[in-house]
């Protein structure tokens, strides 16, 4: 008896059954597809509309599919920024009974941008640097949890705007491996692969005349290594000082907080005669500001967006002379009287352009800009109206980026 279609998923959506699994992914009809930009992939990947959301489907070998599904689930549990796995569909057969490749299904990350889409938009000058910074942070976070990526590249990463920077998400875990702890060799190799891939990808954009001119691709690769190493050393390095300088323990924790990390465990030892103290962070968790904002307001946003919003919350408390009050109460009032009205003032049809938190960040930026231009404190409602007309309307929709040429199927290039 032929094997029947089998769907493995933690919370299966019945709509999955309605998709044309008996057709090779490459031939799926346009009516089920979502026009989203795809990265370079060695597999067939398609974005599909389902139950009002978008899912990504990748055709891949059966064992690899299950392996990647489990890995992505593990990464979710470890709260590593990565795409959310939906399930694995195997036992596919076409109309004539011929076996079809297994599919791995993941959720499309809303408001995420593949690097190729970013480069086909109007860019701020240092986009490349900011992307590489985001990738370095992601790699450090993955390595801290013991994840060896194996094939780090911009193509295997998605980016979301995070205030003035980007936050990077892992998309492809096919070559990855989860360990208790990574060896220095594993980290070094991952970093070298990342360096070479990133430079290669940028050289490709250069060849396609998509890269801002004057970018030194090799130097950007080197910057990735430098940024990663710097961050890794700050987060994990041991430091020694005399017993009299114990304030340095607090200073170290503060330094890590300012980088967006919380210290879960700190190793403190003194030498035999008690004159020297050694400290080394053992467990560090990213998302210091995001967690704090979540606790205060219930808003789940990116790290730098959270940092920006917390700053605004602080100035709100200061302006209302409520700094001595319970933080939770002030935060609640800020949420209902500042954040929500600002976001709600944006016309409904324009809300898909950016994530609310990113929009709020840009509104604050815009207010600062017009305030300094006009030499007065522009009130928030007025700033929102001005932002909507002068900035937002002209922006492309980023909830699900449309209309960017497809790069998964290599574009036809005539010599």
């Amino acid at each position: 008896m032929p094997q029947s279609l089998q769907i493995t998923a933690a919370a299966p959506d019945p709509a999955l059954l309605d998709l044309p699994w008996d057709v090779p992914l490459e031939e799926w009809p346009d009516k089920v597809l979502a026009a989203l930009p795809r990265g370079i992939s060695r597999h067939v990947v398609r974005f599909v509309k389902m139950s009002g959301r978008v899912i990504a489907i990748k055709e891949i070998g059966e064992t690899v599919a299950f392996r990647e599904y489990e890995l992505l689930r593990a990464l979710q549990r470890l709260r590593v920024p990565s795409v959310v796995p939906v399930g694995v569909v195997n036992g596919r057969r076409d109309a004539s009974g011929e076996r079809l490749e297994t599919c791995l299904v993941t959720q499309h990350l809303q408001f995420s941008l593949p690097y190729r889409a970013l480069f086909s938009q109007q860019l701020q000058p240092d986009t490349t640097t900011r992307l590489v910074d985001a990738l370095a942070v992601l790699m450090v976070r993955l390595h801290l949890t013991g994840f060896y990526w194996g094939d780090v590249s911009l193509s295997n990463t998605l980016f979301r705007r995070d205030a003035e920077t980007f936050a990077a998400f892992l998309v492809d875990a096919e070559t990855g491996d989860l360990h208790d702890r990574l060896s220095d060799g594993q980290r070094a190799y991952d970093l070298e692969v990342a360096r070479v891939n990133v430079i290669g990808e940028l050289m490709d954009l250069e060849a396609g005349e998509l890269l801002e001119s004057g970018v030194d691709t090799v130097a950007i690769g080197a910057a990735l290594v430098e940024r990663y190493t710097e961050l890794w050393d700050t987060l994990t390095g041991a430091e020694s000082f005399s017993t009299g300088e114990r304030w340095r323990v607090a200073a170290r924790i503060e330094q890590l907080n300012s980088l967006g990390f919380d210290v879960g465990e700190l190793d403190i030892t003194t030498d035999v005669d008690g004159t020297t103290v050694h400290i080394q962070p053992k467990v560090v968790d990213a998302g210091h500001h995001a967690r704090r904002l979540m606790r205060l307001t219930g808003l789940d946003v990116q790290e730098n967006q959270a940092r920006r919003m917390l700053n605004d919350l602080d100035s709100y408390a200061a302006a209302a002379d409520r700094q001595g009050e319970e933080e939770e109460f002030v935060a609640h009032d800020w949420l209902t009287t500042v954040f929500e009205p600002a976001v709600r003032a944006v016309p409904r049809e324009l809300r898909g352009k950016l994530e609310p938190a990113q929009m709020f960040h840009e509104i604050l930026d815009h207010r600062w800009y017009i305030s300094s231009e006009q030499g007065r404190d522009v009130p928030l409602p007025e700033a929102v109206a001005s932002y909507v007309e002068k900035v937002l309307r002209a922006r492309p929709d980023e909830k699900a980026v449309l209309g960017v040429s497809d790069t998964a199927v290599l574009p036809v290039v005539r010599d």
Binding site: T175, A188, Y189, G200, M203, L410
Partner: protein, 376 residues
């Protein structure tokens, strides 16, 4: 190009008692294609990653040529990990796709072009060098990915299950391609797989690992003809060898009414620890269908015949052996025997056929240690 030497190389993961790789001693010759094979968790990938510098070596050392690389960074080992990443860059020519790593390393342009052209010749890609990857077929794209590794001219190629995400047909094709390419290039290669067929067809030599311990290393023929222990005997070959635990009595190995005479040298190798037993192995193709009158013939009751055109395999159980039939194992499971039979004369299901082991094709192993007992 270079040799590779594992010298008592050990990898012990923190918090575990048993090393993932236990004092591995292995020497790979210059230009050799060595396959590390074994079931999952045997330590084959860990061994490869130790060579790549991805795993720490807790004791012992690893040499590439005469150079001790035990503490050398992965990127400074002059090795290339080849994987099936054929995500090619669409805007770059095939030549640039192959040579971009050299460009990053600052290699002069003329040198890059020369190396790319040489690699392209070997890979049959010369006429495509100035085209874009779009113009290539799937197989050609894969060769461009190989080309990326080749142009770096590493001392050693490392491949970790490179075929695992390909479908069955492409896997066989690529298997042949990689093997012939490696011979043409003559670059020392260490290749990891769990698939013994892949190992037999590709390797100059095969190293079988189990539980972190090297079981045996040798040419495919050696591994097949004289496995050094029961594990290797059962692991190498498809369908797998029939292996059974026999009683030793009256100078013969006995199981039910089956009686296989043993040589004097074999009998004298049996020790008290073996408790009067011996492990006997014979491959499906080492059996002949004979008449009942044959001196060491034993009966097999046919359960199923699998016809493959060129071959036919009979799956059955040793007849009249009672509970002892369960002491037999084969690729088909417990209490089963597999026999290759003439595809033009296949017995029917339910029939009993008499078979005998061809002279010199019977394997004997110590019941206690599992080690091969040689017939001198």
């Amino acid at each position: 190009m270079a040799t590779v030497t594992y010298d008592h190389a050990t990898r012990l993961y923190p918090g575990t008692d048993r090393p993932a790789v236990d004092a591995l001693n292995l020497h790979v010759e210059d230009g050799e294609f060595l396959v590390l094979v074994g079931p999952s968790g045997c330590g084959k990938s860990t061994s490869l990653r130790m060579l790549a510098g991805l795993e720490d070596v807790n004791s012992g050392r690893i040499l590439i040529g005469d150079r001790d690389v035990t503490d050398v960074q992965p990127k400074d080992r002059d090795i290339a990990m080849v994987f099936q990443n054929y995500a090619l860059y669409p805007h770059m020519s095939v030549a640039d796709n192959m040579g971009f790593a050299l460009k990053i390393a600052g290699t002069p342009k003329a040198d890059i072009r020369k190396r790319v052209e040489e690699a392209a010749k070997i890979l049959d890609l010369t006429e495509y060098l100035d085209r874009k990857p779009k113009a290539l077929s799937g197989g050609q794209r894969q060769r461009v990915a190989m080309g990326r590794a080749i142009v770096r001219e590493p001392q050693v190629f490392l491949m970790d299950e490179p075929l695992s995400n390909l479908d069955a047909k492409l896997r066989v094709q690529t298997r042949t391609q990689i093997a012939s390419l490696q011979r043409r290039l003559g670059v020392t290669t260490v290749y990891v797989t769990h698939d013994q067929t892949e190992a037999l067809t590709m390797g100059d030599r095969i190293a079988v690992l189990k539980d972190g311990l090297l079981q045996q290393v040798g040419t495919p023929r050696e591994m097949y003809d004289s496995p050094s222990n029961v594990f290797v005997a059962g692991f190498i070959g498809s369908p797998a060898m029939n292996i059974g635990s026999f009683r030793v009595a009256d100078g013969a190995a006995q199981l039910g009414q089956t009686r296989i005479p043993l040589e004097r040298t074999v009998l004298s190798a049996i020790t008290d620890e073996d408790k009067g037993h011996i492990t006997i192995g014979f491959r499906p193709e080492s059996l002949d269908v004979v008449s009942q009158a044959h001196e060491s013939a034993f009966p097999v009751e046919v359960n199923l015949v699998e016809e493959l055109g060129s071959d036919a395999f009979l799956y059955g159980a040793i007849a009249n052996a009672g509970a002892e039939a369960r002491e037999m194992h084969s690729g088909a499971g417990d209490a089963q025997v597999i026999v290759r039979v003439d595809p033009r004369q296949v017995p029917r299901k339910g029939e009993t056929v008499w078979v005998a082991i061809r002279p010199g094709e019977r394997h004997a192993f110590s019941a206690a240690t599992g080690q091969r007992i040689a017939v001198v």
